[in-house]
Amino acid sequence: MSVDTQYYLIVAAILFTVGATGVLVRRNALVMFMCVELMLNAVNLTFVTFARALDDIGGQVFVFFVLVVAAAEVVVGLAIIVAIFRKRQGATADDLNLLKG
């Protein structure tokens, strides 16, 4: 027998919330990035769940695009973190107050 759709959605909701709370709580830019990945994965799980529930391959194709965008985002984001680290000697998000008035 197969597991009901709702349980997958509950797992995805928990994963998304943990990721979102992590972005708010942690102050290391790298860990914040990992939490964003966590949120993206939760949404991917929702997409796949609905793809099965609605019998529509579009959900799975969309997850494919989300994966590509996530990979590009990681590449650019880590490059930005490396560039910041060269100037500031630290990857804590609170130190980046250059635009503060």
């Binding site: 509950i10 979102a20 790298l30 860990v31 609905f50 609605l54 695009f65 990979a71 590449v75 560039a83």
Partner: protein, 183 residues
């Protein structure tokens, strides 16, 4: 049987996700992230998304997390995180916001509010063909234009990463160096 696998994978995913958030050391966070990604891949397999499960393991666990670990090791930020909080109310507020979001999402899952998209039904998921075949057919017919744009996006990301981390050459004036800090 499927229920048992689901319970194991779901527990592993949630526990590893908590590990990502709570580990003091960024390296431990990255390793917990691998655990979550594997567990989600298992959940993908359970839902007959075999291709995506493989891509998840290869791209995420194989490339993205390795990139994370590279940067952690390169920068040497694997020691400590500043623990004194300039905004003392931020952490409880963040936890409260997370709790509200969780209850909201769970209420959405329980109810039948979000049933909008049924009319936008594409090619069917079930059938005699394999999962990879179906995704390929849909990707290269219905989604060919987004697929091409995706390749442009990847090229832009690669060029952007190179531009961002490139060291300025010695002869070059550091005009883009906003605050004029000495290197």
């Amino acid at each position: 049987m499927e229920t048992v696998v689901f319970l194991l994978a779901a527990t592993a995913a949630v526990v590893s996700a908590l590990g990502v958030v709570m580990a003091r050391n960024p390296v431990h966070s990255a390793l917990s992230l691998v655990g979550t990604l594997f567990a989600v891949a298992v959940l993908f397999v359970l839902q007959e998304a075999h291709f995506l499960a493989a891509v998840q393991v290869i791209v995420y666990a194989g490339a993205v997390v390795v990139l994370f670990l590279f940067v952690i090791m390169l920068l040497g930020v694997d020691r400590h995180e500043m623990l004194d909080d300039p905004l003392p109310f931020q952490r409880p507020l963040a936890l409260a916001a997370g709790a509200v979001a969780l209850f909201g999402l769970l209420a959405l899952v329980g109810g039948t509010v979000a049933t909008g998209g049924f009319s936008a039904r594409g090619p069917a998921l079930s059938g005699s063909e394999g999962n990879v075949e179906r995704i390929a057919k849909s990707l290269f017919t219905d989604f060919i234009w987004p697929f091409e744009i995706t390749s442009v996006l990847l090229v832009i990301a690669v060029v952007g990463a190179i531009v961002l981390v490139r060291e300025g050459r010695p002869g070059e004036a550091e005009a883009e160096d906003g605050d004029g800090a000495p290197r």
